[in-house]
Symmetry: C2
Subunit: 562 residues, 2 copies
Amino acid sequence: MSPSLVANGDIVPGVLTGRLASVYSEVQTSRIDHALPLPSVLRNPFTIVDGPPSSAAGNPGEIAKLFPNLYGQPSAVLVPSADAVGSDRELKIGVVLSGGQAPGGHNVISGIFDYLQVHVKGSTLYGFKGGPAGIMKCKYVKLNSDFIYPYRNQGGFDMICSGRDKIETPEQFKQAEDTALKLDLDGLVVIGGDDSNTNACLLAENFKGKNLKTKVIGCPKTIDGDLKCKEVPTSFGFDTACKIYAEMIGNVMTDARSTGKYYHFVRLMGRSASHITLECALQTHPNITIIGEEVAAKKQTLKNVTDYIVDVICKRAELGYNYGVILIPEGLIDFIPEVQRLIAELNEVLANGVVDEDGQWKQNLAPQSLQLFEFLPLAIQEQLMLERDPHGNVQVAKIETEKMLIQMVETELEKRKQQGSYKGQFKGQSHFFGYEGRCGLPTNFDSMYCYALGFAAGALLHSGKTGLISSVANLGAPVEEWTVGGTALTSLMDVERRHGKFKPVIKKAMVELDGTPFKKFASMRDKWALKNHYISPGPIQFVGPVADAVNHTLLLELGALA
Amino acid sequence: MSPSLVANGDIVPGVLTGRLASVYSEVQTSRIDHALPLPSVLRNPFTIVDGPPSSAAGNPGEIAKLFPNLYGQPSAVLVPSADAVGSDRELKIGVVLSGGQAPGGHNVISGIFDYLQVHVKGSTLYGFKGGPAGIMKCKYVKLNSDFIYPYRNQGGFDMICSGRDKIETPEQFKQAEDTALKLDLDGLVVIGGDDSNTNACLLAENFKGKNLKTKVIGCPKTIDGDLKCKEVPTSFGFDTACKIYAEMIGNVMTDARSTGKYYHFVRLMGRSASHITLECALQTHPNITIIGEEVAAKKQTLKNVTDYIVDVICKRAELGYNYGVILIPEGLIDFIPEVQRLIAELNEVLANGVVDEDGQWKQNLAPQSLQLFEFLPLAIQEQLMLERDPHGNVQVAKIETEKMLIQMVETELEKRKQQGSYKGQFKGQSHFFGYEGRCGLPTNFDSMYCYALGFAAGALLHSGKTGLISSVANLGAPVEEWTVGGTALTSLMDVERRHGKFKPVIKKAMVELDGTPFKKFASMRDKWALKNHYISPGPIQFVGPVADAVNHTLLLELGALA
């Protein structure tokens, strides 16, 4: 069933869906029927082969205690076989989107749906609405061909929407059980980031412990690119988001070079890890790139970061360049130890003391924190003092790091001008590229990768697996040769001590300073700093020779790019 | 001569140009050799036919006095003919980019160059560097095949860069004459907006008055889309810039619908006219769009605009939608009479009086201005008082209108919440889409249009025309059928009284409230406001079925779109 969609400005006829009465652009329309290749192992009869028993990423003893039913279970690999996997019994499967949007989520769902259509005809796919809360409240929609059709290869999560709730308390686990029983679920696919996949594993453990038949499979989603490991080479959405940001950065670079008078400070989404910033740097070759993990490893201060930027600006001015492009990760501030200390002290002061106009309150700050506070631009000082979250805490996330850096750079350049060591002109322009990238039309890579992830999740559930994360690898090769399987979620876990208890966590994959992507960047950044080696990646292309290109980070990590 | 460019990461070999040692993305590389079709009249032998004598857009008597040598001259049209235009004598032509970047500028230059290569072999093309200042200082580069090659179909103005200087004073005209004589220029092409084309016409008049052989031809450039008339249906760059912004807006819309909790306030470049905002609205169907020209025509206040937004937000909340997308033109504030008055009074106060902390100074404001000042969010009040330009004036351009509106909407919604007429949740997210759009890779339309404009400029100079603006029309038809000619710049002119003197101006083409694009928008906006009819145009495509689409504004104005 393929209700025909018509071009721009017309209404999708007769499709009773969440995108009812939606109008599609020509590009959207052209994407809907874009055929997706599958890895050859998914196109032919296959069976599932278990690997050796698994361990954990850290503290296996504690993980074993937290997951008595799942710990040690093997990862699984799909291999061609004449004996097809699973029975013909119809399945009832649920799927949920968890956390922030990432391009490709709709394709994971399409992949699950199509797997069931091809392999277990008559099965039912429930889409839980609004994230994990949909599971707990048993709010769902039954997905069928017509419903799914308009979302194929489309951005966003609006097919069933997402949410940030977690299933944590015994009551919440009970609610999830009730839903599983009520819908007679054979399986559940949780599409999410590190937290959501940890949650998926806890759910799998819980269901298994209660002898429920409901299996749980995770899928690696996040534009931030910080959920990955050997078996799961990348999270979906990263490729698309980076390419969207890189398009914008490339345009701004061309603008900078044409105008010759602006330094563009571009803050990029990605609070915990700097993968997006690093990838965008590799795609565009900016003059300056700040990588949070490096700042943390070198224990740099805000002054160090400012000085690094100012040094480059001064050297460029001597070469006649009074313009440039600077990339900054959204989470920069979180990587700077002294800022963390200042914030903690401010929260303390604000919670307990009186903030007097004369500034006597500042004596409650440690000398180093006071010095940092005074170093901050006035506007940022005010923002720190005035804007609080509902718990009364300073809202670090609201600080526009790019604007703060512009002001600090201005001040420092003014000093150097007076000292005679800088004779250039400086004008800063600030940008934040964030929301634009989370919901774009997925690239061909993300479209194919997500479809395979969904198909694989279907296969894993069909064969009765639980507590695995859908794993599609060998991504540097043509799609036909991609490998497919599931990785034991417990094998990705370590524990963290919180409130006196061990909590399981999938450790975020940070930028590795000895990894290939960072090393490639580090080997080139000095060259990029002084001369201009800007690259303008241009808009994402869906057809033509460049449409299937894959991001640098992935290719470098796979060893598929020099 | 086509030095081969290689894919991403590699250096352009052996091309000694301004983009020396540039690296090209795969998309950039794929664009370089993209063949551009020409209107059939430019592909075959043609001659130039003059139309009837022309008049002026207003005050023909004054225009006649200001342009005694040019006034009344006919526009010209290229028609097929066995007798080719112009002589075989080699020409010396200069070209200059004036004002802000617009995608396609490099293609205009390529078009001029290729015209000369094809029709007047051995001619010389000088690129004046850094805008009109390059003419005055005689700073130029001789353009050859190798130099131009890497810029074909590429964004930016960096081939010869641009500038905002004007040739105005007698001394400056003298400098331009000196350059024309020194380089023995047969012609000059000025690529720019309304001001730059007015300047081009003054230069043409001046050269003609001095009996110099140098002819001057203008080209319509501006992403703002406010330089157009019957003969010049659009300015180049508008198509690309709008498509880049619309891609971002479409992504943000999908994000809004997926997340369900943000109102995105998107400010769009375009200070004088709201064409960009209108075009983006037609491409994406936002919930709310503010068109400056309508605000001005209806003499709306900032409170009116705020109330309109708040009304829609309240109605949407009743329908369960606590999210949306709102487009705002960069120049909104300039369209509101009361804001203009307040700014004028503030400038007066700041210049003359003392601003006391108790606020006594406010008594110097007229009551209405005081009321508006108090209505503004505190941060904006502070910004108005603190940030001055070098002349001590309030910096209106620095006001982030989208953030100001978010705060005013928040305040008003809070009131309505207390009155019980609003029960929703409101979270604003601000965006400014500007620099990202000015230097993108030109769309196929802008690439072809600019190339034809450049080719036409070459033809006009070759046939000895001066004081015309290169005019390519019939743009709704296939490229082969585009018409080509030159329009008398004086026919586009009116006068403005400045410092007691009449100054010639090409009137900016504002959004016409009775024009087809606005009327189409106005007929649909109420539907868009309450339900969601979002369209996500997706990234610009260079190949495939959707690559040659043209923007709505142009098609609607041409009557080529219902």
